[in-house]
Amino acid sequence: MGEAIVITSGKGGVGKTTTTANLGTGLAHNKHKICLVDADIGLRNLDVVLGLENRIVYDLVDVVEGRCRLRQALIKDKRYDSLFLLPAAQTKEKDAVSPEQMAELMGTLKSEFDFIIVDCPAGIEQGFKNAISGADRAVIVTTPEVSAVRDADRIIGLLEAAEVYDPQLIINRLRPDMVRRGDMMDIQDIIDILAIPLVGVVPDDESIIVSSNRGEPVVLDQRSRPGQAYRNIVRRLEGLEVPFMDLEQKTVMHRLRTLFGIGGKR
């Protein structure tokens, strides 16, 4: 029986889709059977980031409405045989799917895959409710901005209400130089507010944009720093304790280690 992890944030553009693509690819690289689900109906782009756009025939709404079998809608990745994508419908409305239908779909997927990773749409409406239904746990993505952290906090509250407990945190697009100048929230500030365990910090890096455009997740690039960050997160999701990278924030990183020790309990 697999585990369904929803990648969510509240605020848009903070890196949910990038995170989903990289974690999925990284886990598949480590020989897990993975299904990525694009729950951002009407605004799909996980397929683009993975370079699979041109293979889509059926989508999630087709499956739910019985127009095709699940197998027909799943797209196999170019690089890994154990990685599949269930794409979102581009031309349908968000409420084409109900939370109950979504939960049922998750149940089916969990019997076939080790991990199901759901890319959640921005916002807190129907699309969000669909994406989290059937999820066993959640990973919250935020950037070091007050507004993004505020939205993440809201999402954590809503997840609790929906009985998805113990979410973990990824801080994306951190710029150590700005933190050092005092122009960006530091990791500790964010953890103080959100009070959930940290599972990774991804630096802000141009290579992400380059790789997204090429449809080649950065996690596969051995020399890339954000790639290393994602590889570390993958291993933490597998249950290993991996020390945090030094993003040139020595004092903060030191504190992080202890924090992760506590957070790694799950």
Binding site: D151, R154, I156, G157, E160, I193, A195
Partner: protein
Amino acid sequence: MGRGEHWTAGQPFCGARAWNEVLERFLRRGWTMTKEACVIKGNRHGLMLSVSEEASFAEILGQLREKLSAHRDFFQGAVVRLHSSAAFLSEDRVDDLAAVVHEYGMTLDRTMTLEDQRPQKQQRQKVPEFNLDDTKLIRRTIRSGQSIHYSGNVVVMGDVNAGSEIVCSGDILILGSLRGVAHAGAEGNAKAVVFAFRLEPTQLRIAHYISRAPDEKGPKPTGPELAQVVDNLIQIRPYGRFVKR
């Protein structure tokens, strides 16, 4: 006790007239002689003898003798009421105290009282007493978008994050950081207070008083603080200072 007037040995208090004057003056204000092993206080209910539970009984008797002999005339004929707990003072000890008091021409009222009988006016400046009846205890973080409404007091063991609100008719105690909006005494009780380990709210409301965080980021609070209405303004003060006084 600190606010009471100290009656120093050199002052010319003597005779019944002076006694009346003094009582008169302290009808409105509590006062204290010293704050040692034993204290003799006067208020509108008369004289009160309170003994410190920290001191040894020998110390208490010694100090009592000292004080009474220093102001022998002043205390003549007065009745002094005992203020202590029965657990601390056995029957025998009360007998001993009564004997000393009697030596100096006074009588001891043996009904013990633990109530502080200072006039109400003074108490407002003191450590507020949290009335914990009718209290909702919340053991989690209150997050953005969540709101707690309660008729009574609210105690949160956790943080109250920005974007959330707590509204209640009584006091609000946050055993964590208060970053959201807190409205205490929401049904009009201006004596309600808001307490937090880290008080950095977006907005504070007590009854119909409203205050907001300064636009400029100020220094972060370094310890527990308490907000209450003083002179028609919501005032925030470090909580430790209340305790020390």
